[in-house]
């Protein structure tokens, strides 16, 4: 016990003497939480629209005005023909081309039917998808309006209409930040815990201090605990800092119990630290450790459900994300912060993460040798 306390004392001394790490721990969560949720936004705005109006009628003018006034589109070009509009799309000046055919208004009145043409630049998939959908719904809406204007309704509505009204639960205003901040916080905790542990142990190898430690009677588990505990504490500090930032800047207060969050993060940190430890047992230099950690972090982050929902991934990707500890934390964070889930609701997640902790740490301890 005395040995462990002394090891911890030594480890904390070293951490507090390392300026760069201290700055990373305190500044990284604050800055990332301030910048990322504001910058990373799913809403697509400023879609560049080019109009090819062959009709030049009041109806087509109204339609275009309606599209522009929605706020999502920016009219960047007016071309006399599609042929001349296309270079705009090629040079990225237009994301969408809307072509209104000749005699649009006349045919609409006469035949009660008309067609519009929309060309979408699909290089940026998200923008194209959403832009196309927005434009579609605006045109549908306009369609409904002119129907109301032109058809004098009879006493009874002839066509049966199903009207849908929806309400958004747990995030009524569809506030994007409420959804993003807990996810980013999860990534931060993972980065701090995983990277710091891996780099710290590999540093002892690189400097050669591990050589001196290995010839001492210091027990293997003492050494490992001496490494894990400080970073477990730091992970919790970063998490707390993140929660404070979320509250101070975005006004996000977890709906659920804070204890549930801390219990889960406590277990989760054990798993992440175990992962860092495991990576360190395979590496001899900090450079190697950094690259290996980065490789896994990229996969963890992109396949963790932070940006794209796991449910919409292909089956094989879903399978991989089941072995991704980050996905469990992101999911639990959202459950507790947005929905107010309690320990009973997250028990499966907790069990799986605990299993991760046992397996990763066990493997790391087996792989850490004092003798070569």
């Amino acid at each position: 016990m005395r040995t462990i306390l002394f090891l911890l004392q030594k480890e904390f001394k070293q951490i507090f003497r390392n300026r760069a790490i201290l700055v990373m721990i305190s500044v990284m969560p604050v800055v990332q939480l301030m910048v990322l949720p504001l910058a990373a936004n799913y809403e697509v705005k400023n879609i560049n629209l080019c109009v090819v109006d062959h009709d030049h009628s009041t109806t087509s003018q109204k339609l275009i005005n309606k599209i522009i006034s929605s706020g999502y589109f920016k009219l960047t070009g007016n071309a006399p023909s599609f042929h001349e509009a296309f270079p705009l799309m090629e040079s990225d000046a237009a994301d969408l081309i809307l072509e209104v055919p000749q005699n649009f208004e006349r045919n609409l009145v006469r035949e009660d039917e008309q067609k519009l043409f929309v060309a979408v630049n699909a290089i940026n998939g998200t923008k194209a998808n959403l832009g196309g959908a927005y434009l579609g719904s605006i045109i549908r809406d306009y369609n409904r309006e002119i129907r109301l204007d032109w058809n004098v309704p009879g006493r009874f509505n002839a066509a049966p209409v199903i009207d849908i009204s929806s309400s958004n639960w747990f995030n009524p205003l569809l506030n994007y930040r409420v959804f993003m901040v807990p996810g980013i916080l999860a990534i931060l905790v993972t980065m701090i815990g995983g990277f710091l542990t891996a780099l710290n142990i590999v540093k002892e190898k690189e400097v050669g201090t591990i050589e001196q430690i290995n010839v001492t009677p210091l027990r293997k588990h003492h050494f490992i605990l001496g490494k894990l505990i400080p970073f477990w504490v730091l992970g919790n500090v970063v998490f707390t800092l993140g929660l404070l930032v979320a509250w101070a800047i975005y006004g996000i207060v977890p709906v659920g119990n804070l204890i549930v969050l801390y219990v889960f993060v406590g277990v989760y940190l054990l798993a992440v630290l175990g992962f860092g430890l495991l990576v360190s047992t395979f590496c001899d230099t900090q450079q190697q450790a950094m690259f290996i950690m980065f490789f896994f972090m990229m996969i963890f982050i992109l396949m963790g459900g932070l940006f794209t929902p796991i449910d919409s991934m292909p089956e094989w990707a879903k399978l991989i994300s089941r072995f991704n500890p980050v996905s469990y934390l992101i999911s639990v964070m959202r459950m507790v912060v947005l929905k107010g889930s309690d320990l009973h609701d997250v028990r499966v997640h907790l069990g799986i993460v605990a299993l991760f902790a046992v397996v990763l740490n066990g493997w790391a301890v087996l792989n850490y040798k004092k003798t070569t």
Binding site: T3, G208, E211, Q212, V215, T216, P217, T371, T372
Partner: protein, 303 residues
């Protein structure tokens, strides 16, 4: 009783491609100062790492303090002090903190064994708040020695403790080792410097993982088979070449401002001088000299 017994110890690296330690056997008595003398890459560090239980041997066996290095590695770690060739204390901890740390790791305190390190520690004590990474080479060595001694080891392994240390500090360091020996601590030290060999009780000359000879420095010197001459002339290079091409030369090499050479039996000073005169080198200073460890080592390597 023997403090260290090494029996046919072997270690190969890279699937047997390099035999770093090849069938090495020696024994070190209690309280002895034993030197492993050899050039870089001779296998000294590999032997040290096996004896301090951080490297597993491929063949043979060894015992430290009567304990087997493979079976009883845990107990050995309690009893030996190891100072690796590379400085391996925490550079971001101060002298004091490093010392306290290693004392705690060995389950002891600095006070308990202070008398053992006192002579050395007082020299670095004025800087005890300074971080180890900011110390000079000589001070680092002293601190490393303190840390290796803090648990009162029965056997001390020092791997090239004076490499990269200035001559004055080197002399001081060996003086410290001599005092430690008086406290009945067995010391096994390796060095590539031949002049330090004479300061050991016994030395093992080692090259390419093999031991060439084990004896006291005096005996090693006495066992030099030929009469050794020191020669000097201007220009030196012509002399070196001429002696090298002399058919009766056994060994010849530059040695400081002189060159050392030995010749086949029956060839004396006069014969050599005559030969050199024929070669156009007249002003030659030639005298008999006592072989040093280095001469013996070179002789052993050649034969």
């Amino acid at each position: 009783m023997e403090a260290v017994v090494v029996n046919a110890l072997s270690k190969t690296y890279g699937q047997g491609a390099t035999r770093a330690v090849d069938n090495v056997s020696f024994a070190v008595s209690k309280g002895e100062l034993f030197g492993l003398i050899g050039p870089d890459g001779a296998g000294k560090t590999s032997i040290f790492r096996m004896l301090t239980t951080v490297l597993l041997p491929d063949g043979g066996s060894a015992a430290v303090d009567g304990l087997d290095i493979v079976k009883d590695y845990k107990e050995i770690r309690n009893r030996v002090g190891y100072m690796p060739g590379k400085f391996s204390l925490y550079p971001d901890l101060s002298i004091e903190e490093n010392l306290n740390f290693f004392a705690t790791v060995f389950n002891t305190t600095v006070e308990e064994n202070y008398d053992l390190i006192k002579d050395i520690y007082v020299q670095i004590e004025p800087f005890k708040k300074r971080r180890a990474g900011k110390l000079s080479g000589g001070m680092k060595q002293k601190l490393a020695l303190c840390c290796a001694l803090i648990h009162k080891p029965s056997v001390l392994f020092l791997d090239e403790p004076t490499t990269g240390v200035d001559p004055v500090s080197r002399k001081e360091f060996w003086e410290m080792l001599r005092r430690l020996k008086e406290q009945n601590i067995t010391i096994v030290v390796s060095t590539p410097y031949m002049d330090e060999a004479t300061l050991c009780d016994r030395i093992a000359l080692i090259q390419n993982g093999k031991i060439l000879s084990i004896d006291t420095p005096a005996n090693v010197v006495a066992s030099y088979p030929d009469t050794l001459y020191a020669l000097r002339s201007e220009p030196m290079f012509a002399l070196l070449q001429a002696v090298e091409h002399y058919p009766h030369t056994r060994n010849s090499y530059a040695f400081g401002e002189y060159m050392h050479a030995s010749f086949t039996d029956g060839v004396g000073e006069d014969e050599v001088k005559n030969y050199l005169r024929e070669q156009g080198i007249a002003a030659v200073e030639m005298k008999k000299t006592t072989p040093t460890i280095e001469d013996c080592f070179i002789n052993k390597l050649k034969n």
